[in-house]
């Protein structure tokens, strides 16, 4: 339920030809301009990285007097549909057209501008060409052709160590997005320079600051009679980094707002009441119900509740942010998991902790600072809200740093029924680490077990001979592990506090309380070394504990980036919850087709 005022940004849904799309409407502040702006996202990982930039650009534009819509294309983000649906490229372009129509309906604007980064820019040009009458285009580091984008995705996919054996004929699984053969064909037909009539009256083309290149678009669009500005402004490189580390170039956001303002008539209109942009009651998406939620004392946290279609479930899974990724999770996995689990009878809340995604950031706080100091109260507030809605059992689910928040929150809040932890690289956090173990985990390697097993295969020797293995780095990791083990043994002999701190005791306390743990670990990921250091090989230090279980997955990476590994994780979680509902005290049995231990 939204508690937002009429002048605040509000989440809403709108109809596109393929299905409902999720968006945010940012109403103009003060005197309104006659132009509304639609922000078109890039695709996959780049959409995650740039999420915060899009939010702040929407706010900057609204402050300048523009009404703004930012949204997810059909089959992406919180919208309905999947990347495996038919007709993706047409659906993405049609989503932009529908967003434009909705912005005109809600805000009553007469003029429209489109903004897009990377493939978002490419799609914006296509939509503008179809729509006609678009006033301005802002294209930031546009992919001039779909072919160039596909080539980049092929290179990204090929750089993974995990095989693509589960990918279908002609498909491409890259950067967390599955491109079907048809999608690839349709993408390669896109060419922003091949348009035969001007897609808009004005265009601002901003080069990426890490590879300044004008490309063919400015000249082509001038040739078509458009008023074109080409700019070399900073911000692209900082925007397109891991979401937790992403920084914002506010001067560029302000410059974009000023450029848009310079392209329109000076006359402004008085503020008027907006048309309804509310969330419909009993909204059913992909067969399950979803609704938005503003919660915490000052309603500063935002999330989406996903529930079975017919009834409210009394078991809820809280999905916790992974680094700076917003609530859709890495590679949209939380959306896929939420809808699959709701279809199986479970509720979930995917939400943003303070300072992340669509939740508000308090003045003076940073994303990383928020993470380690303020996350746990946010989790408890989410449980309060779900309890108020009738939920009785609460599972915390998190990948990597989300697993840290889950583990810490489970210890603090006795209402937590169980935790599902995936590939945690740390479960305790020291602002100034005492040993090199925590520092070592800042660098990603394969698990030691991976190298041990690989020694049995000629493949590794070939890579060693080719110099493709960082022998020094791996040796350093092995040494770190050994030092940590020796240090712990000495501490135990001298009866000092062990270096394993509270991790193993924490698991034991939770287990004694009846709070079960399912750990899903990628066998090749070095998070396994960290977990096995604390819990023993394959969790043997908790062997026999009926409330602890560890599942190893082969052929998956740290954030389960492939379509196949995501499906497997979702199956494991659903099986686990089903088992918990039926036989909560029984020892878990193995799962066929996977390595299941403890």
């Amino acid at each position: 339920m939204s508690t937002r005022g009429a002048t605040e940004p509000a989440p809403f849904l709108f109809d596109a030809p393929a299905g409902k799309c999720f968006g945010w409407f940012h109403p103009a502040q003060g005197d309104r301009r006659p132009t509304g702006v639609v922000l078109c996202r890039p695709m996959g990982y780049e959409a995650l990285c740039s999420h915060r930039t899009y939010t702040l650009l929407a706010e900057a534009l609204a402050q300048t007097g523009f009404d703004v819509v930012r949204f997810d294309y059909h089959g992406t983000g919180d919208s309905s549909g999947a990347d495996t649906d038919a007709g993706r490229v047409a659906a993405w372009i049609a989503s932009i057209e529908a967003a434009v129509a909705e912005l005109k309906r809600i805000a009553g604007v007469s003029r429209v501008a489109l903004f897009g980064v990377r493939l978002g820019a490419t799609l914006a040009v296509q939509a503008a060409t179809v729509l006609g009458g678009v006033d301005s285009l802002v294209l930031w580091a546009p992919c001039v052709t779909g072919r160039a984008f596909v080539r980049e995705m092929r290179a990204a996919s090929a750089s993974r160590t995990m095989g693509s054996s589960h990918v279908g004929q002609g498909e491409l699984d890259a950067m967390g997005h599955l491109y079907t053969a048809q999608t690839l064909v349709d993408l390669q037909a896109l060419d922003c320079a091949a348009v035969q009539r001007p897609p808009a009256r004005h265009a601002l083309i901003i080069a990426r600051d890490d590879m300044v290149q004008e490309g063919p678009l400015p000249a082509r669009y001038r040739e078509l009679g458009m008023n074109v500005t080409f700019a070399e402004w900073p911000g692209y490189r900082a925007m397109m980094t891991e979401p937790l580390d992403a920084q914002l170039e506010t001067k560029t956001l302000d410059a974009i707002a000023n450029w848009l303002a310079s392209t329109e008539p000076r006359a402004r209109t008085a503020h008027h009441a907006f048309a309804d942009a509310a969330w419909p009651q009993n909204y059913v998406v992909d067969g399950v119900r979803e609704s938005t939620l503003d919660f915490d004392a000052d309603h500063s946290l935002f999330g989406i509740v996903c529930e079975p279609p017919e009834r409210r479930a009394d078991t809820a899974i809280l999905m916790l942010n992974v680094g700076g990724n917003h609530h859709i999770g890495p590679h949209r996995m939380y959306v896929k998991a939420a809808r699959a689990l709701a279809a199986a009878g479970y509720s979930s809340l995917r939400f943003d902790l303070e300072g992340i995604g669509d939740s508000r950031m308090l003045p003076g706080s940073s994303v990383e600072g928020s993470y380690f100091r303020h996350s746990m109260p946010g989790v408890s507030a989410a449980i309060d809200t779900l309890a108020h809605r009738g939920c009785k059992r609460f599972y915390l689910l998190g990948i990597c740093s989300g697993a840290y928040v889950a583990f810490q929150s489970a210890q603090l809040d006795p209402r937590v029924t169980g935790q599902i932890l995936m590939n945690p690289r740390f479960l305790e956090w020291e602002a100034t680490p005492r040993d090199s173990w925590q520092a070592s985990m800042r660098r990603h390697y394969k698990s030691i077990g991976y190298y041990r097993r690989a020694l049995l295969r000629s493949h590794l020797y070939q890579r060693l001979l080719r110099g493709e293995v960082d022998v020094k780095g791996v040796a350093h990791r092995v040494a770190t592990l050994l030092i940590a083990r020796v240090s712990r043994a000495l501490s135990a002999l001298l009866r000092r506090d062990g270096r394993d701190g509270g991790v193993l005791p924490g698991f034991r306390r939770l287990s004694a309380r009846g709070c079960g743990t399912l750990m899903i670990m990628s066998a090749q990921d070095d998070a396994l070394d960290y977990v096995e250091f604390h819990l023993g090989d394959r969790g043997t230090r908790l062997h026999g504990d009926p409330n602890f279980r560890m599942v190893l997955m082969e052929h998956s990476d740290h954030t389960f980036s492939t379509h196949a590994s995501q499906r497997m994780v979702i199956d494991i979680v659903r099986d686990h919850l089903d088992h918990q509902q039926q036989q909560p005290a029984a020892k878990w049995s193995g799962l066929p087709g996977r390595v299941a231990i403890t």
Partner: protein, 85 residues
């Protein structure tokens, strides 16, 4: 005429600007695994684009693979092949 050292310096400059390594590229050996030093899939694509811009080449599809971009030496081998063609 460019020497081998010039060639390698240019590759290192591209890596410094685009690979987002967790270590100064000047401290890397030619055979060090760039992925192990923090280069992500996303960064490797930027490295590919920057190498193409710097050396005026286009990596053909059969070269779009991990083993081509995994070290300074492997990149040099691929570029030598492309520039000699």
């Amino acid at each position: 005429m460019k020497t081998l050292e010039d060639f390698q310096d240019q590759v290192r400059a591209v890596l410094r600007d685009h690979a987002r390594l967790k270590q100064d590229v000047s401290g890397l050996c030619a055979d060090d695994d760039l992925y192990q030093f923090g280069m992500t899939s996303h960064a490797s694509v930027n490295v590919m684009l920057a190498l193409e811009g710097t050396f005026g080449v286009e990596f053909p599809d059969h070269m779009l693979k991990r083993s081509v971009f995994c070290s300074i030496a492997s990149i040099q081998r691929a570029l030598s092949e492309l520039t000699a063609a």
